[in-house]
């Protein structure tokens, strides 16, 4: 084969290549902030134990600078069953660090097992940021009778409480003892936290239980509150468990900013970010048998002599718990 070198020229190849490349890549604009339908970030919980609810609303903004104090938003909640709709009120709140946030609130007592729909929108825009949240179903406790044994010189006294339908550890467990004193004719609750509940607790199919070590509790109370064994009368004891809604779970089991800070992680908000959770709080209250109480060294009231006090034993709100020192 003979190639005529003079017939093959480099210039057309070069110019064709250059012309092709020059035609591309002329757009020099760039905007790193994408357009989005997401308007608000919501953070908060609907708490069964509270008669008012609070949810933080943050407007998603295109600049880093902090938002001004105006947040033009309409916030409503609706209970799915009754369709009862409540409009919430904005409160412009200045935090300790001087920054300002919008916390919407409403007088609302949420009910176990009910679904609530949160909606936030701007008045001039049909786009709605919303979140469904399901309040945990009611959990029923079962308090087993205390087991008291004497092993040589030691006394073992335990009591197990079962929570039906709870199959995993609750978010929080608070155990407390309630005493009555004639000093100001009142009840006093002392919370015990020295026993990690997970040590004496376990999940089962259909229930979760925890076992109280009555002797160790008694020793702790005696060490820290000896006056309760002199002037106080053991009125009862109880456990309050706090459970979160089914979706309120940390990825990997640990709640950290590093993990949850990624937008969209642990979020139930449509057209927005954040999480509106639900909190259920359930309490079991009971009395020890008189013989057990006295055996452990507590003084007990004669209920027949003071029927009015006995009747009021469980009336006092549990919120008056005194943390163990």
């Amino acid at each position: 084969m003979t190639i005529n070198h003079s017939a093959v020229q480099p210039y057309p190849i070069i110019f064709a290549f250059l012309a092709t490349l020059v035609l591309v890549g002329c757009d020099e604009s760039v905007n790193p902030i994408l357009e989005t339908d997401r308007q608000f970030t919501l953070f908060g919980t609907l708490d069964m134990a509270s008669d008012s609810q609070f949810v933080r609303v943050v407007a998603i903004r295109p600049t880093l600078t902090a938002p001004d104090q105006k947040l033009n938003a309409v916030f409503t909640s609706r209970q799915a069953d009754t369709e009862e709709t409540i409009q919430w009120t904005d409160s412009v709140y200045t935090f300790e660090d001087g920054t300002v946030g919008h916390i919407f609130y409403a007088p609302l007592r949420v009910l176990a097992g009910k679904t609530y729909l949160i909606k936030v929108k701007k008045p001039d825009n049909d786009l709605v940021t919303s979140a469904f949240t399901l309040i945990p179903h009611r959990l029923e406790p079962f308090v087993q009778i205390e087991r008291v044994q004497r092993v040589i010189t030691q006394v073992v006294a335990r009591q197990t409480i079962l929570w039906w339908s709870l199959e995993e550890d609750p978010y929080e467990v608070v155990q407390w003892y309630r005493f009555f004193t004639f000093d100001n004719y009142s009840f006093r609750d002392i919370a015990l936290t020295h026993v990690p509940f997970s040590e004496a607790s376990s999940s089962h199919e259909g229930f979760w239980d925890t076992t109280i070590n009555l002797v160790r509790d008694r020793d702790s109370l005696l060490a820290n509150y000896p006056e309760m064994f002199v002037r106080g009368y053991l009125a009862g004891l109880g456990i309050t468990i706090t459970v979160l809604d089914d979706r309120f779970k940390a990825p990997g089991g640990v709640f950290t900013s590093a993990a949850l800070g990624q937008p969209g992680t642990l979020s139930n908000v449509t057209n927005g970010f954040g999480y509106v959770g639900a909190v259920g709080r359930f309490t079991a209250e009971w009395r020890l048998q008189d013989t057990t109480a006295m055996f452990l060294g507590y003084k007990i009231l004669d209920n027949e002599a003071y029927p009015d006090i006995a009747a009021r034993t469980w009336d006092a709100p549990i919120g008056s718990l005194v943390e163990e020192q």
Partner: protein, 757 residues
């Protein structure tokens, strides 16, 4: 250890066997008679009165060696482009090792009449062979630049697969590798950060260059310690016959070079210095903030110690200081954001051709230091220093038909850092790490025929870090197959990098680099594969295609976070780089030019703990900020009427960056919260990490030079150049938080002068 000693013994015995055998060896140095420079690529051929034909091409040091020569009478011819052919008649005795040094005279002729090998492999813009490309000073002079001193950095940025941070930053990414994964050697001395903050310049002006071999991947066993690429630069020796020099002035730098004999014909010096004049020049021309200062100084003394030995001492210093992203005068004065780096490197090199054994031996001792700081120079908020002391020996063993190269080295490294918590996982401390090892590689001709030849270059490198308890065995291999006008090449290898440079790549404007030993406790590793094809269909045209794949393990990248933080945590990552280059080189009379196109895809897979929660199991795959998918470069040079017109057009598709949906405040919902207690933390609502692309980059640079000669040795060159001729607004980076954009340099007209004497 015993194995290594055994290997060494075998090689030495082989050499002695050659010396004692019946065949003769001819070896020596080839130099340029005019200035005493070694000439690389000289074809030295022996023929007898029959059909015998033996040949060799000279190395960078001008060393040639022909072994396996049966005793007898031979005609020697040595030729090289631009030099008159040297001829001689030799009678070689059995077992003789004949030293033979000679010099070539420059002529206006072209090719000699006998040619074994045109030039070193990889020469020319399309002359890439298994990842190697050789860059000569005359290649660099083709690239339009705003000054007359010419610089390697400008040329490197025209190579496909080389991604530059642009006009500012001084960062080069070669085929997916980070800047600190590139090894730059200057006469064998490590230069940690060889590029200046202004992207046109490296610390190495073209005037001191002899040749630069760029190994974009698949490099041989001689090189180690970096996992991406090697740029092996050899510098010129000073003129051994007369004093000469050059001075140039232009809007960015003023440069000067002096060279000459210290002992005529025996010892020479070469010294060069460049200093920026940005404040007085370029900043005024473009009326913009260019708060950069840089300079570099180079000195080399070279001596012909004896007929068989050469000694050189090389030193380099460079200094850079600047504030990236300065938009206003206040920004430019804000030294708290100032980055500074200083290179100091010095080394001595001893090359000898022993009289009794057919080897070339090189002994190198060097000291290299980089200091990098952020903030005021006197009281930086962050500071990092790396230092390497190197002692190495390289031996090339000339055997009939094939050469064996082997070497040993000992390195001592010191790493200091004071990072003010920039990297949360790194403690500020001083590390002392020793490293010893060796390598062996050979070049074996498997097929040698008139119409085709196949050469295989297997190699093995051993690195040992006693203080870390780590040893690495790294097999390497290269293959070159020539068949007529066609050439096929391939290379593969395993590479490790114990010392890594960490930068916060989340911010393109942050070029502070902290040197440390593998921060995740595991040493980064790369496996390279590449294969290429080259053809010369016509004398004026060379076309080359090359594909490559790199598998990267144990990378350290910044942990992903949605919070605007000044400190980062390191997370492990893996990566792949795949791509292909196409190059066309045209050499047609007064016109020379090349076009190239590069496609590259770099993917990192980050292994951060939380990633599984965000993107599912298996890590998340993303394109790091240097993943430029498409690149094209067109360079043309035309000589007419005493003028030289150079044109370069560069195109690069947009680099990845992270887009956001906006900002909000984040409250950690780790249970029931009192919303009045938690102000929250400002959060960036990022879309997918590095999911966006910046606009494409393109730029046209033009320069015209006219040289006026005054006598045989004095000349004045005048340069007029237009950088970014059509004033393209190329984006350097955009600040997500302020939405301010920082652009690359605008249209820069420049005039320059160079006086040579």
């Amino acid at each position: 250890m015993m194995r290594r000693l055994s290997l060494l013994l075998i090689i030495v015995v082989l050499g002695l066997a050659e010396a004692r055998g019946q065949n003769a060896v001819l070896r020596g140095f080839v130099t340029d008679r005019a200035d005493g420079q070694p000439i690389q690529g000289v074809n030295v051929v022996l023929t007898d009165e029959g059909d015998a034909f033996l040949g060799s091409a000279s190395s960078r040091d001008g060393v040639f060696a022909i072994s396996g020569i049966p005793p007898g009478r031979y005609f020697l011819a040595a030729s090289f482009i631009g030099y008159s052919t040297h001829r001689d008649t030799l009678v070689l005795e059995a077992g003789e090792i004949r030293p033979y040094n000679f010099a070539l005279d420059i002529t206006s002729g072209v090719l000699g009449d006998v040619l074994v090998e045109a030039e070193n492999e990889g020469a020319g813009a399309a002359g890439v062979a298994a990842g190697i490309q050789s860059i000569r000073p005359r290649d660099i002079q083709l690239i339009p630049s705003p000054d007359l001193s010419g610089d390697l950095a400008s040329y490197l940025a025209t190579l496909p697969g080389v991604v530059s941070s642009g006009d500012q930053g001084g960062q080069l990414f070669i085929r997916g590798g980070e800047p600190t994964q590139n090894q730059v050697l200057l006469d064998g001395i490590l230069i940690y950060q060889p590029f200046h903050l202004i992207g046109f310049y490296s610390a190495i002006p073209s005037a001191i260059l002899n040749v630069s071999d760029v190994y974009a991947g698949g490099f041989g066993a001689k090189y180690g310690g970096r996992m991406s690429s090697v740029i092996d630069i050899s510098t010129r020796n000073g003129n051994k016959q007369r004093f000469s020099g050059e001075f140039s002035a232009a809007p960015f730098i003023s440069a000067g070079l002096l060279e000459g004999p210290l002992i005529k014909g025996k010892v020479s010096f070469l010294m060069s210095g460049r200093f920026d004049v940005i404040e007085e020049g370029a900043a005024r021309i473009i009326d913009a903030q260019l708060p950069y200062a840089f300079n570099d100084q180079f000195i080399k003394v070279h001596a012909i110690a004896s007929e068989n030995t050469r000694i050189s001492v090389t030193g380099l210093r460079s200094y850079d200081r600047g504030i990236l992203g300065a938009q206003t005068a206040a920004d430019a004065d804000s030294i708290k954001n100032q980055v500074t780096w200083k290179n100091d490197a010095i080394g001595a090199r001893y090359v000898m051709l022993p009289t009794n054994i057919p080897v070339e031996a090189e002994i190198l001792v060097s000291l290299s230091t980089i200091e990098n700081s952020f903030g005021p120079e006197a009281t930086p908020s962050r500071h990092s220093r790396a230092r390497e002391i190197n002692a190495s020996a390289n031996v090339t063993h000339f055997n009939p038909g094939f050469d064996i190269e082997w070497g040993m080295y000992f390195k001592f490294n010191q790493l200091d850092s004071e990072l003010s918590g920039l990297f949360q996982d790194l403690n500020d401390d001083t590390e002392f790490i020793s490293n010893a090892g060796g390598y062996v590689q050979t070049e074996m001709p498997v097929i040698e025929r008139d119409d085709m030849d196949l050469t295989v270059e297997p190699g093995l490198r051993l690195s040992s870090f006693p203080s870390k308890g780590r040893n690495f065995l790294e097999p390497r291999a290269r293959l070159i197959f020539n068949y007529g006008m066609h050439q096929l090449s391939a290379a593969a290898g395993i590479y490790h990098q114990e010392f890594v440079g960490l930068s916060d790549r989340r911010d393109a404007g942050d070029v502070f680099t902290a040197w440390t030993s593998s921060p995740t406790g595991r040493v980064p590793q790369a496996i390279h594969f590449l294969g290429g094809y080259q053809i010369n269909p016509w004398p004026w045209l060379t076309v080359a295609l090359e594909g490559f794949y790199k598998d990267l393990e144990q990378l350290s990248v910044a942990e992903w976070t949605s919070f605007p933080r000044f400190t980062i945590r390191i997370q492990p990552a893996t990566g792949t780089v795949r791509g292909a280059d196409a190059r066309i080189e045209v050499n047609a009379g007064p016109f020379y030019g090349f076009l190239n196109y590069g496609y590259s895809k770099v993917e990192y897979v980050a292994q951060q703990t939380e990633i599984e929660y965000w993107f599912g199991p298996g890590g998340y795959s993303y394109s790091p900020p240097h993943d430029r998918r498409h690149q094209a470069n067109a360079v043309g040079s035309l000589n007419f009427g005493g003028f030289t017109l150079n044109v370069r057009w560069q195109y690069g598709s947009g680099l990845p960056f992270s887009e956001a949906l906006g900002f909000d405040e984040f409250v950690l919902m780790d249970g029931p919260k009192d919303q009045f207690e938690e102000p929250g933390e400002t959060r960036v609502l990022y879309a997918y990490p590095y999911g966006g692309r910046l606009p494409d980059y393109h730029r046209l640079d033009i320069s015209a030079e006219y040289k006026v000669e005054f006598g045989a040795e004095t000349a004045l060159t005048v340069l007029a150049s237009a950088t970014n001729s059509y004033d393209r607004t190329n984006l350097f980076y955009i600040d997500l938080f302020t939405l301010e954009r920082l652009d690359q340099l605008p249209f820069i007209p420049a005039l320059g002068l160079k006086l040579e004497f």
